[in-house]
Symmetry: C2
Subunit: 304 residues, 2 copies
């Protein structure tokens, strides 16, 4: 099935306790699409400046990602600078230069207006709504957001959430959006806002999938080579939406497995800076880690 992602493409400058990188290819649409293209055909809609290295466009195209929707605007590409401390938890943002992203309005090319699966990465919810107006009845729409939009554009965000199938966000965002500290109760509150599933990302602690019919608690892969957590969430979404598009089946079993593919892709993403590790994977390596995750969290019932 076809997948459309709308999000950011950025040049990231990052410091972690293990190293540093400068102007590394990043952004939500980049991580998502490199993760998702392992499963199905991805098209990207995003904006970059005229300074954006052409080899990055070739890199995406070389991965089979349709880049017709990449807008190249006069000015500089979105740049983010961040630093992670000892525990590699939340990044400390050192600078954000939005640049051409400030006036971004997603324009979906005519031949991409009929995607089966859509991922609205973390951008202004008004822009997420603009995307939804341009696409023709996709089968499945997932969206992400961040604290900034929850506090600054809550009304628009609620209008977006109402229209999507899956809302993917992290645990602190779930609490912020609902004002409810209990994740399960908070997720059930979000289900009432419209989506048929809520997928809570808990970083190194795994993920929770909550639907009206079932709850699935996915363990995280305990990454020993954790290098840079940037992009883990979007890679997770890439694995999740990618597998959902591939199997094109909204059954409980497929959704559970899709969460595990998300977990797998996130676990790879954090092993190197940028999207490099994701790009070098092949399907067998992905399946090996999935099997490892299965073994990792398995236990047999046996009476005491």
């Amino acid at each position: 099935m076809s997948i459309l992602v709308v999000g950011s493409v950025a040049l990231d400058t990052i410091k972690t306790p293990f190293g540093a990188c400068k102007e590394e290819l990043g952004g939500s649409a980049s991580y998502f699409s490199v993760a998702a293209q392992h499963f199905d055909k991805v098209s990207m809609v995003a904006v970059v400046g005229t300074d954006f290295p052409k080899e990055h466009v070739s890199f995406f195209e070389g991965r089979g990602i349709n880049m017709e929707g990449l807008q190249i605007e006069e000015g500089e590409t979105f740049r983010w600078e961040g630093e992670y401390g000892f525990e590699l938890g939340e990044a400390k943002t050192l600078s954000t230069r939005v640049n051409v992203f400030e006036h971004f309005h997603p324009v979906i090319p005519e031949n991409l207006k009929d995607p089966d699966y859509v991922f609205l990465a973390n951008i202004d919810p008004s822009l997420q709504l603009e995307v939804l107006k341009q696409v023709e009845s996709p089968k499945f729409v997932a969206c992400d957001t961040m604290n900034f939009w929850i506090s600054g554009k809550k009304d628009e965000l609620l209008r977006t959430i109402e229209k999507v199938d899956a809302f993917i966000l992290n645990d602190s965002e779930v609490r912020q959006l609902t004002g409810e500290p209990n994740l399960l109760k908070a997720a059930k509150n979000i289900l009432k806002m419209g989506p048929r599933l809520v997928l809570i990302k808990k970083g190194e602690h795994g993920a929770l999938l909550i639907t009206p019919d079932f709850t699935f608690a996915a363990p995280a892969y305990p990454v020993e080579l954790l290098y840079d957590p940037t992009g883990a969430g979007d890679s997770f979404a890439g694995g999740f939406v990618g597998f959902m598009a591939r199997c094109d089946d909204l059954s409980e079993d497929s959704m559970r497995l899709a969460v595990m593919y998300g977990t797998v892709m996130a676990s790879f993403a954090v092993e190197r800076f940028g999207v490099k590790r994701l790009a070098e994977l092949d399907t067998f390596v992905i399946l090996d880690r999935l099997k490892e995750l299965k073994k990792l969290s398995e236990f047999e019932l046996q009476l005491p």
Copy 2:
């Protein structure tokens, strides 16, 4: 198999966003023993003051817990006062009155010196060593600790860790003890210090069991009725050690299942103040939640 626990018995005054309690029966030995007695025979060694309500002793005895090792000293019982915020994470300690606990030296009664399984709850590691000197070659010793001892009595703690089979601690303590932010690497460092397994408690995020042979990632039960997280860790240890003693088998399968029984007991403990919820359980209720946890984290492998 017989289980011996040495730890604290306290009177806790707690505030959470959902309510408050005053001088509630608490302490590590209390939570552990009420959880563990669902699986096997528990004896407790601890100290209380002359003010300790006799009905609490009867309560323990009524649960079949051997209280011969309870020392009643002139003075007041250990009292802790704490408050939990919105997310029910770390407690803010409002006051700690150590009272009779200050001069506590565990004395194991003659007839209890031959336990099969021992749990050294979070007390001064010098006292944990005193216990180990008094018991005769138990099959399995597990110990817990806290940040206070890691910073204040590290040498004594390392001497304890060297002698135990299982070291049970939370994620921030693992990082503090080893200076290593990556949990998996940190746990492997701890394995080199002596124990044959490290069990990392991650609160609402589940637990990680790390041994030289395998790693097991247990999801937490997403508790909707979360009321008071006090004692969750000791209840977890109670389920873990309790089941290990019950099945008396140190195989990988049993250890994985023991972690899940720990998870189950912790999930019940937090539904009410104190040990009340743990006390009212019966085995079928425990098994039902175990089955629910199995279903919660299960996924079927299927190729993309």
